[in-house]
């Protein structure tokens, strides 16, 4: 039957009318809109039973205690743990992102071999262990180990392996720990300095970034929280001295502007005033100390540090009036400070009668080592990685044949990283045990993925800054998201094949022994409990270390006309984590724009330099140079440029790679007179428009 055009049009009209009287258009309209809430490329909610596992962070330098929430068997959140002494109901911006870091795009997914042409080749664990074993054997005693862990027993294992092969070269990445340990050793002390912040009634933080990155931050913050009831007058005064009105300064009740690296001088200035007011210490070298302190008159302190005499006097008076004052010393950016800084701060504490007193400084006992051939904490603290690498660089010692990096990223995280990278080039075989493809891993021949702290057994022993002896286990909350193996297991296996006798077959046994040595109960540790002890280490013949301080300060570098003040913020990550995916939203607007970082200076300094906000500048000194834009922030001391740490990664993923530049390029290593400790907390800089 033929249908003409008119008939067809009528048919269409009928069909249209008919369709409108069916569910077709209406159902499709509705379903299409439902489809938009259910797009296949948008992830779905995956339900399951909730459970919580208490553990401790191995990624966050604060050693945050935390509860991991699992849905089914999936970890989804790192939550604060009210009952944990290293959380006390809070979490850091870094630890809060820890579960998400399990799935970070920059995780090393499987063992990798760096082939000759620079490409990564995936290899099996079997092959990886074989390569490792052969190279360690070949290197013999010409081997160095570098660890990025401050609190774990893994350091005994690593140092034990070094010693077993005849090498003394085991190092931990530099932090506040080494100068503090060396200072206490210089005082003839026994144990680790601990700070009872929560029981103090006046807290003076000299450089120590206590509300952001210094020590066991969450515990510090919990003390701050307790002493600062909302909408009420604080019960404890917090004073922060440093060159930048940092996060700690924002929380502190008073910000005392003081130039970078002058913490010891401020402390001695206070000591001088306290001694004048009648304070003394029963120590063999008190007279020497008194003479030293007397040199630091308020006027001299003012000229060296920028702290006005009136302010200094006021602080000294407040300290002496307080019942349980506490002085904390450190570096605003958590590293590079000298032994003298800690000595001077401890001396002030002793003058205030705060040593060994509640709310003061304590000597915390450390558990004895369990791997006989390994090094204990004080031995480790004596090992200065930066000094070692500098000696290699200067040709004073030969480069090792092999280097083992355990969760350490010296290529990014050390001062003058370019020089450090050159040292690396001289080492024929380098292996990195790492969770993330960081700068150091990129420079290594073999890259071995380690499970994160959330995916393995590990331990934390008395982190620096805490006020009581502490031991806890990190426990796996989920299977490793990648094809990783715990470094300790791999190394124990390799060690046994190399006929090293470390005394243990598995790492769990090591941890059990350590727990026992610490006096902790293994079973309760395995349930997420933790061990704390208020025991203190007995002291005898404690000195002030006046001679050490005297030498160090006599030769202290003069502050440059224009200096750098590195600023550390935990939300931007560490050299090991880089910027976690969720954290780059927490970077402030005028800290980073696209890939350009901003540095901050006050208006007067900017005028003097002839720059305005957003200007592109080049910061140069003898170590290196970086480019940045100018931000004006009045919370920076005159002639000081505040530079945020944590930028300028050349490895990792799109969340951190290529963003800004690394301030470490500008930090020049010097050596503290008297102790030889490497320091880099004073850096001059020249600014030019770029």
């Amino acid at each position: 039957m033929a249908v003409d055009r008119r008939g067809f049009l009528k048919f269409v009209a009928g069909a249209t009318t008919g369709v409108l009287a069916t569910p077709v258009p209406w159902k499709l309209l509705d379903d299409a809109s439902i489809w938009t809430q259910n797009w296949s490329w948008i992830p779905r909610n995956v339900d399951g039973e909730n459970s919580y596992i208490s553990t401790i962070s191995k990624l966050c330098p604060s050693a945050a205690g935390m509860k991991i929430r699992l849905v089914g068997n999936r970890p989804v959140r790192a939550l604060p743990d009210d009952n944990h002494p290293l959380s006390m109901g809070g979490i850091t911006a870094l630890a809060a992102a820890e579960v998400q870091l399990m799935y970070s795009p920059s995780r090393v997914k499987r063992p990798l071999k760096h082939s000759g042409d620079g490409a990564y080749v995936a290899i099996s664990w079997e092959e990886a262990e074989k390569i490792l074993k052969e190279n360690l054997r070949r290197a013999g005693s010409k081997i160095a180990y570098v660890s990025g862990d401050e609190t774990g027993t893994i350091n005994e294992l690593l140092s034990g392996m070094a010693k077993e092969s005849g090498s003394e070269d085991f190092y931990v990445m530099p932090s506040e720990v080494q100068p503090a340990a060396r200072a206490f050793a210089a005082m003839n002390g026994n144990g680790q300095l601990g700070y009872d912040i929560e029981n103090s009634d006046y807290v003076l933080a000299l450089g120590a970034n206590i509300l952001e990155s210094w020590g066991t931050v969450l515990r510090n913050r919990a003390a701050f929280k307790q002493s600062h009831p909302a909408a009420e007058k604080p019960t404890v005064k917090y004073v922060y001295a440093g060159p930048v009105q940092s996060n700690t300064a924002a929380g502190a009740d008073e910000w005392l502007p003081a130039k970078s690296g002058t913490e010891a001088i401020v402390a001695l200035g206070i000591a001088n005033l306290l001694i004048k007011a009648g304070a003394s210490v029963n120590a063999p070298d008190f007279a020497e100390f008194k003479a030293l302190a007397a040199q630091f008159t308020p006027q001299k302190v003012a000229s060296l540090t920028g702290v006005t005499p009136a302010k200094l006097k006021a602080i000294a008076v407040e300290l002496s009036k307080a019942e349980r004052p506490l002085v904390l010393t450190g570096s605003e950016f958590g590293q590079g400070t000298g032994v003298a800084t800690v000595l001077a701060g401890t001396a002030v504490n002793m003058l205030l009668g705060s040593f060994g007193r509640e709310g003061g400084v304590k000597a915390l006992p450390l558990a004895p080592k369990v791997i006989a051939s390994g090094m204990d904490r004080s031995e480790i603290a004596d090992k200065d990685l930066v000094a070692y690498l500098s000696r290699i660089s200067a040709g004073k010692v030969p480069a090792p044949r092999a280097m083992v990096f355990y969760e350490a990223n010296p290529v990014y995280g050390l001062p003058q990283p370019a020089a450090m990278a050159k040292v690396m080039d001289k080492v024929p075989f380098k292996v990195a045990f790492t969770s993330f493809l960081d700068e150091t891993a990129q420079a290594c021949d073999l890259i071995l993925p380690t499970p994160l702290g959330l995916e393995r057994f590990d331990d934390v022993e008395t982190p620096y800054g805490i006020g009581q002896a502490f031991y806890a286990l990190a426990r796996p909350v989920a299977p490793c998201a990648v094809d990783g193996k715990p470094a300790a297991d791999v190394l124990l296996n390799v060690a046994s094949q190399l006929n090293m006798d470390l005394g243990f077959a598995t790492y769990e046994e090591v941890l059990q022994a350590k727990a026992e040595a610490a006096g902790a109960d293994w079973d309760s540790l395995m349930e997420g409990e933790f061990f704390t002890s208020d025991a203190v280490a007995e002291q005898s013949g404690l000195r002030l270390g006046a001679a050490v301080m005297g030498k160090a300060l006599a030769a202290a570098p003069k502050a440059a006309k224009l200096s750098i003040a590195p600023v550390q913020k935990l939300n931007i990550g560490t050299p090991n984590t880089a910027i976690p995916p969720y954290n780059n939203k927490t970077i402030r607007r005028w800290e980073l724009q696209k890939n350009e970082m901003y540095v901050a200076m006050n208006g007067a300094t900017a005028r003097e330099l002839g720059v305005v906000k957003h200007d592109r500048i080049k910061l140069t000194n003898s170590s290196g140079s970086i480019q940045a834009r100018v931000n004006i922030f009045e919370g920076v001391m005159p002639n000081t440029i505040a530079v945020l740490m944590g930028f300028g990664h050349t490895a990792f993923d799109e969340f951190s790679k290529g963003k800004g530049e690394n301030v470490m390029e500008l930090l020049t290593v010097g050596y503290e007179a008297g102790t030889g400790q490497s320091v880099w907390n004073v850096a001059g800089v020249n600014v030019s428009k770029a």
């Binding site: 033929a2 249908v3 008939g7 009318t17 439902i34 779905r44 909730n50």
Partner: protein, 210 residues
């Protein structure tokens, strides 16, 4: 075209014959048949459960309570469907009955530890928060006189006496089950003023959405 040229007269007469309203009504009928009869079949795909689960066997023969598998967890969440692990508490090594489906379940799921991808007839979209705890007998029976089965069947298919799991219809466009309740169905109770005072639930958006 060719035909029209060959038989122009016929063509015209046909047109005249069918002229007027006829093509319109043909179109109308075709559309109605398509829209009411063919379209629903095209929109939904039919799927069977991966394992034929007989509620009848479990309830009548094994005398199990519904809450043996569908229970509340301590934190107030509803467990929904049991995991393979909990099924394996009874169905482990040897089949308990004759049904080949049970043997297959043990072989394919219990032995491998795999979870069964059950089709959930009333599966609500992600944006819906449904509290099983709030829709309890205590709450509803303040006024109603529901048995447990009656209450559950307000929303769920009454599978208690079924030997064969019903066919699951999936909307090809939305990927939701045909039985997924629409908002107006929830509102039969939620928008009912008499419910407010007794249940303290309202028809507020966030009572049900997440």
């Amino acid at each position: 075209m060719e035909e029209r040229l060959l038989h122009p007269a016929d063509g015209n007469s046909t047109s005249r014959q069918f002229g007027g309203a006829a093509p319109f009504f043909v179109g109308l009928v075709v559309a109605l048949i398509f829209g009411w009869w063919a379209f629903p079949g095209m929109l939904f795909s039919e799927q069977e459960q991966p394992i034929n689960f007989s509620h009848k066997v479990h309830i009548q023969d094994a005398e199990m309570e519904c809450s043996a598998c569908h229970y509340f967890r301590e934190d107030g969440t509803f467990a929904g469907l049991p995991t393979t692990e909990s099924c394996a508490e009874c169905h482990s090594d040897e089949p308990l009955g004759e049904d080949p489906e049970e043997a297959r379940f043990i072989k394919e799921y219990v032995e491998t530890g795999k979870e069964v991808k059950w089709h959930v007839y009333q599966k609500q979209p992600d944006n819906v928060f449904f509290s099983h705890a709030a829709h309890s007998l205590e709450s509803c029976n303040n006024c109603h006189d529901f048995s447990e089965v009656e209450l559950c069947s307000q929303c769920h298919i009454d599978v208690a006496n079924m030997d064969k799991a019903p066919t699951y219809y999936e909307n090809k466009l939305t990927t939701y089950s045909k039985q997924t309740m629409k908002m107006w169905q929830c509102e039969r109770c939620h928008a009912h003023p008499e419910h407010y005072g007794v249940t303290r639930s309202s028809n507020a958006c966030f009572v049900c959405h997440k």
